[in-house]
Symmetry: C2
Subunit: 273 residues, 2 copies
Amino acid sequence: MFKPPSNLSSAQTSHSSAGLSARLMCRSGQYTETSAGLAPGLVQGNLVILPESFAHDFLRFCIANPKPCPVLGVTDVGSPMLPALGQDLDVRTDLPRYRVWRDGHLVAEPTDIRALWREDLVGFVLGCSFSFEAALQDHGLALRHIECGRTVAMFRTALACTPVGPFAGPMVVSMRPFSPADAIRAIQITSRFPAVHGAPVHFGDPSLIGIKSLDQPDYGEPIPVADGEVPVFWACGVTPQAVVEAARLPFAITHAPGAMLVTDLSNHRLAVF
Amino acid sequence: MFKPPSNLSSAQTSHSSAGLSARLMCRSGQYTETSAGLAPGLVQGNLVILPESFAHDFLRFCIANPKPCPVLGVTDVGSPMLPALGQDLDVRTDLPRYRVWRDGHLVAEPTDIRALWREDLVGFVLGCSFSFEAALQDHGLALRHIECGRTVAMFRTALACTPVGPFAGPMVVSMRPFSPADAIRAIQITSRFPAVHGAPVHFGDPSLIGIKSLDQPDYGEPIPVADGEVPVFWACGVTPQAVVEAARLPFAITHAPGAMLVTDLSNHRLAVF
């Protein structure tokens, strides 16, 4: 079971000003688009905000399902601040855009949630694939969806998450095609990053994990797989969002797709060896 | 490029008496069969003995091709002893059986080469897949060829080794079938052991590395691949033997297939992390 590295307890990093600058740009309301490309080299995180009454079950769900739900940080009850992940980091304002859920229905997509904040809310920041994609690119591996200018293809699978309380559902995976030799290297590289989904959960025949067609992703866009390549599947941060939606909680807030939280942590700091 | 870990410079291990016992049993002439199963937990090595005039090129060939030819130890010129790999270890007597080559032809399979030793010979001990197979089994992964009681299937590939001097030829690989999830785990586990071939070089479609049929291995026996499994291919220690044979050196000695050198090193000592 993955435990967050102890060096996440403080956020000393030479990039911290770039992270803070990105957050302040979001906080000012000037920037409301995807966080992809903001503050290169820094960890970005998925956000889930829940009432305290569901927080413990949700955290247990994450611990029981560390590959799709790697926990980078949790706020104190009622506090929107998360100093372990970044200087002056405020989860109410520092993301480009949010989604507000009531009884499992999407009811708003604001760029600021200060007006919705409550003393019983808890914020969870979960690892996101941007960090391991940066590591793959640093090692010279090309990412097809980026080459194509598309969102990565994501699929609901027949792999069931371990259920906890109201939280249950299928694992969602993202797919990236590689030659077998590059896939082996990609497995090695992403194994170093359990805090951001870690090693793949599957490669090859999609039907073995309940995916009917690579041409029809459940989220994102179809990504071509060339002759001689194999599709490689990683646990995806859409999983906890889909699980929170399916749990039909009276109230929840998440980041909007692609609009993640920029932290002060260097991607390199997440490597376990 | 792989460099032997510095902790191989001496052979302190709690198993050393088991290694020495196995070597003394071979030395006495009592034991002339496969070394598989001798001294479980200890590293076994492939052996190549060449005249000094070829030794430097062969060692450069190994360094240029570390996956098929991981070097565990090299004797001093003219010395048959290798204390770094084991107490009282004598490469002339301590293997169950040898092969003697003249001008590329197999001329004898003695159980002792003391009568053939010369002052210009150099012995090379190379890592062997037994160590990583033990690691895979320790982690609960079943090996099909062992379940079937067969020799692993090995294939000449279209992957060319980097040539050095007279040493050149195709990489030979061994094949083990796994489910994709187990293959990912096997890649992680064997990545820890670069001294014994390390991570696989390929998985999936055999034709992509020039293998025409899994049913017709070039060495060993065919191993069935079940539905839902993929063949996974590791660089194989038969490669240096095939290269030495093809180089048609006037004189060379190798271990006989399956009759390796038992060292005093624990398999665990080879893990790089």
